[in-house]
């Protein structure tokens, strides 16, 4: 039991890459659509709902949290942004072979396999987090701090003892950026939205996670039912789809959250090609205050492909087998 709780921290640890490199696609098109948002009326589905359907990508180089070097600077100028993007792309590129073998093996494979976006979010905000204004995840509560450190220590001490020492992503149980909430990752940042008269489906390519969300006003499931992706309910506020998610598994942790995580996601189509996606994290036992991030979803003509994670997960076997082989050699 204790072991499981500890392993839970893995989810918090999973999106390791997030800090360095993600963000909203801030293409010129996206920027333009924000500008037109005021006088633009979103199309409706045959049922008369605002139409959010299609495949969307949240690839961006803008990081979730504002990097220390940009502290106090909420937005970049166009020139600053161009320089920053250039530097980021160079920094994260896995095509480079410098830095020695340990860094090199960590870069895994060529950049060609990735799809991290090539620009910042349209408004050139320096973090996806819009509140608090410092662009950082608020401090954890003392209990959460303790819990996260314990998990981190467990993961460190038992990294290759068994599957539980690996992250949930490595175990193909939950993907750090598939959420909810959804964040950009290094590849497969694709989300397909479908609407019927009484449900909306949010299908994240990673790791073939589909949330089928009732729109009929029913209550959440009982508190004894806990799920990795939580229990989502949606309703319309004007043209905005509001998704309310609770009942998260006590093993799940988003950036340090616990079973009390209450997540609100808001989807607003602001132009033909952009949905403004905003999520707010409420979890008074984990964070000292709520926090909010904004991630534009950009329309793409691509399709979502199957990401059958567990079925081909040779790597988990290899990691554990490698550790056993090392013990034997000792």
């Amino acid at each position: 039991m204790r072991l499981r709780a500890l392993a839970a921290l893995g989810a918090f640890l999973a999106p390791v890459w997030l800090l360095g490199q993600q963000s909203l696609p801030v293409t010129a098109k996206a920027a333009a659509s924000t500008a037109t948002a005021k006088n633009w009326t979103p199309p409706r589905t045959a049922d008369g709902q605002p139409d959010l359907e299609g495949v969307w990508t949240n690839s961006t180089l803008t990081p979730l949290e504002r990097p220390a070097e940009l502290a106090g600077k909420e937005f970049l100028t166009a020139q600053e942004a161009a320089d920053y993007v250039k530097r980021l792309l160079q920094q994260v590129s896995s095509d480079r072979r410098d830095g020695g073998p340990q860094v090199d093996v960590g870069r895994s494979y060529n950049e060609f396999w990735r799809d991290r976006g090539n620009d910042l979010v349209a408004d050139r905000r320096t973090s996806l987090i819009s509140d608090p204004p410092d662009g950082r995840v608020p401090p954890l509560t003392p209990e959460a701090q303790k819990r996260v450190e314990a998990t981190r220590a467990y993961m460190r001490d038992h990294a290759t003892d068994g599957p539980e020492g690996r992250t949930f992503a490595e175990r193909c149980i939950a993907w750090g950026t598939a959420g909810p909430p959804m964040l950009p990752g290094p590849y497969n940042n694709d989300v397909q939205i479908l609407q019927s008269s009484d449900h909306v489906v949010i299908l994240n390519e990673m790791i073939h996670d589909a949330r089928v969300i009732p729109l009929d006003g029913r209550p959440h499931v009982g508190p004894e039912i806990r799920e990795w992706m939580g229990d989502s309910r949606a309703h319309w506020e004007g043209s905005t789809l509001v998704v309310d998610t609770t009942n998260f598994s006590s093993e799940y942790s988003f950036r340090g959250s616990d079973a009390n995580l209450h997540l609100t996601e808001r989807f607003t189509r602001v132009s033909p090609d952009v949905i403004q996606y905003e999520f707010t994290v409420y979890d008074p036992t984990a964070f000292t205050k709520p926090w909010t991030a904004r991630v534009p979803l950009n329309k793409t003509a691509d399709r979502v492909y199957e990401y059958a994670c567990h079925e081909g997960n040779y790597a988990l076997t290899d990691i554990l087998a490698g550790a056993r082989a090392a013990e034997k050699r000792k």
């Binding site: 397909q192 589909a210 988990l316």
Partner: protein, 251 residues
């Protein structure tokens, strides 16, 4: 088997979505034991002694039209071997995605979400999911577990052409299998307010001597606030798959 329902269908006027298509939205489930064996089968003892009656294999009259699967001789032999080793080889044991058509008659509900542009089926088992493209998506780029689904309407029947299926899935727990040449054509027809007739034609010239058909009614979940819950089974099979690689405490 479906004849009465089809006859009924002539009189039955299906409810329609806003864009005029038969409304297939809902949570559906097969009420049969085809997942144990798509052919007719008597009950028998299970594979795991400690499970007792809870692990025993329930009987069923089968969903294969005509009763027999037309295996080629070598394939019939392989099916026998699969059956003998089913506890080890059945992909469901390892929590692998079930493929089509097996996902339809597993003992878990699934939900059809029908929009004007796509139809998506979300299966409770392993969170398996398929998008049925109504815009002719072309050939599958690669093979996958749940395949590549292209749909169209023939009258009030949703016809789904499924290709791009890999050779890793089975039809049931009894070792009935196919190759990556599998081609499945599914037909979904509302037969009554809460009954969806399902038929699938199975074609795979590497394994079967001719195409064959399965059929069954699917029933709608009418419970108040029915919804799919998570059955993310990966965690449940880690000990089975990786347990032998665990660090031994003594060492």
């Amino acid at each position: 088997m479906l004849a009465p329902a089809n006859a009924q269908n002539q009189a039955f006027k299906p409810p329609r979505t806003a864009d005029g298509k038969p409304n297939l939205n809902g949570i559906w489930q097969a009420m049969n034991t085809a997942n144990w064996d798509i052919q007719g089968h008597a009950a028998q003892a299970g594979q795991v002694v400690s499970l007792g009656a809870t692990g025993a294999e329930p009987p069923g009259i089968g969903i294969v039209e005509g009763g027999e699967i037309p295996y080629l001789p070598a394939a019939a032999q392989k099916k026998k071997e699969n059956y003998a080793n089913r506890l080890k080889l059945d992909p469901e044991v390892k929590c692998y995605l079930p493929g089509v058509p097996r996902a339809t008659y597993m003992p878990y509900p699934f939900q059809i979400v029908q929009s004007g542009k796509f139809i998506l089926i979300s299966y409770e088992y392993d969170g398996a999911v398929r998008t049925i493209y109504m815009d002719n998506p072309g050939p599958a780029p690669v093979d996958s577990w749940m395949g590549w689904s292209a749909g169209h309407w023939e009258g009030d029947t949703l016809v789904v052409d499924v290709t791009g299926l890999n050779d890793q899935t089975w039809f049931d727990r009894a070792g009935d299998f196919h190759s990556d040449a599998l081609h499945v054509v599914e037909r979904y027809t509302l037969a009554a307010p809460n009954v969806l007739n399902y038929e699938a034609t199975i074609e795979d010239p590497q394994v079967f001597s001719k195409p064959w058909k399965i059929s069954m009614p699917l029933y709608k979940h009418l419970e108040k606030n029915a919804q799919l819950l998570e059955f993310k089974c990966v965690e449940f099979v880690e000990e089975l798959i990786y347990g032998h690689l665990r660090k031994q405490p003594s060492k």
